[in-house]
Symmetry: C2
Subunit: 210 residues, 2 copies
């Protein structure tokens, strides 16, 4: 298997962290986002959506979309699973993983894409051009602030995002916090003691360096 990725892509990092957690043998193939290699004909022949990450299986099957790749790699590999054992357990983890994405990760991404000078005319990922909307920067900040509030409440109820065990939901939550901190100047706010306790634990896992 090959994972087309970029060190600078937080979506690719979600997949790399899962690979590291599970100790999977996946070849990493860098795609240079700086020169827009993801929009080159060579890369579009692999992933027509023009984004990283993309996983190419040994039979040539291409799987795109970070959470889909994460779930596939977990489903196709030996236990322990980062989603759970039963369909219901997997659904609860997938639900939380998705909430971390839609309420956290996607909010940071929207803020960054509508703010960054280098992304003018490319405010939505993919091949289609869209102008930036400056009002989205503030809305994204509000959403990320609310994400931290909600995460504090959830981590007050359980040790990890989806319950008592580390799961794929923690991977996306950690990627979100680091992305918000580095690219959107929104680190964990003061007073969020449950988030800080959780962050100390999950960021010290060896997968966090992936």
């Amino acid at each position: 298997m090959k994972l087309y990725h970029s060190n600078g892509s937080p979506n690719a990092r979600r997949v790399r962290m899962l690979i590291a957690e599970k100790g999977l043998d996946v070849e990493l193939v860098p795609v240079d986002l700086g020169s827009r290699e993801q929009h080159s004909n060579a890369y579009l022949a692999i992933n027509p959506r023009g984004v990283v990450p993309a996983l190419v299986l040994d039979d040539g099957t291409v799987i795109g979309e970070a959470p889909t790749i994460m779930r596939y790699l977990d489903d196709a590999s030996a236990p322990p699973s980062l989603y759970g054992t039963t369909p219901a357990e997997k659904a609860v983890v997938a639900m939380w993983e998705r909430r971390m994405e839609t309420e956290g990760f996607a909010a940071v991404m929207e803020g960054v894409r509508n703010a960054a000078g280098g992304l003018k005319g490319r405010a939505v990922s993919g091949l289609h051009g869209y102008e930036q909307i400056p009002d989205l920067i503030d809305r994204s900040k509000q959403r990320v602030a609310n994400f931290y509030d909600d995460l504090e409440a959830q981590l007050g109820r359980s040790a990890y995002v989806a319950g008592d065990r580390f799961s794929a939901a923690d991977i996306t939550a950690l990627a979100t916090v680091d992305f918000a901190t580095k690219a959107f100047s929104m680190p964990i706010p003061e007073g969020r003691s449950a988030v800080k306790r959780w962050y100390a634990v999950v960021s010290s896992r060896s997968s966090a360096t992936a």
Copy 2:
């Protein structure tokens, strides 16, 4: 099992269509979005995110998020699956289902939520209030137009969204087209013959009335 839903919710319709396709025995419990019952204390005790749909299993486990519920119901029920048989097949369907959502369904939703008079101050679903951003209406229209272009290309390559068989990806695509038509005045554009051929086929399935 009980599905908390609303007839007016296109996200709930995605789940109802999957239930109908698989012939599952799920009790439908209506939630009145008009009176904001989804934000009532009684409903928040079921789904703290304050949105429909939510699936409650017989043991009390709550599963939220439309695509997560769809995948759970498919995983937990007898074949034939609406995702496929192998992990790779399931991943390819899940990838396409997600693309239909992020590039189509979510674009329509964003346009509607930022345009509708009744949704002032509630431009993002959930419990947190966000003001509408009028510039998002035009951007959403551009995104939906591009969605139709891309769907035309894909359906020129295969009979259904994710290949030669009807799948969960077609459910989300059909829900998107009907939502765009009814709530965003963006029916299938002229000249999209592959989309129209596909639409005639999938909209005639009995599940389309769900």
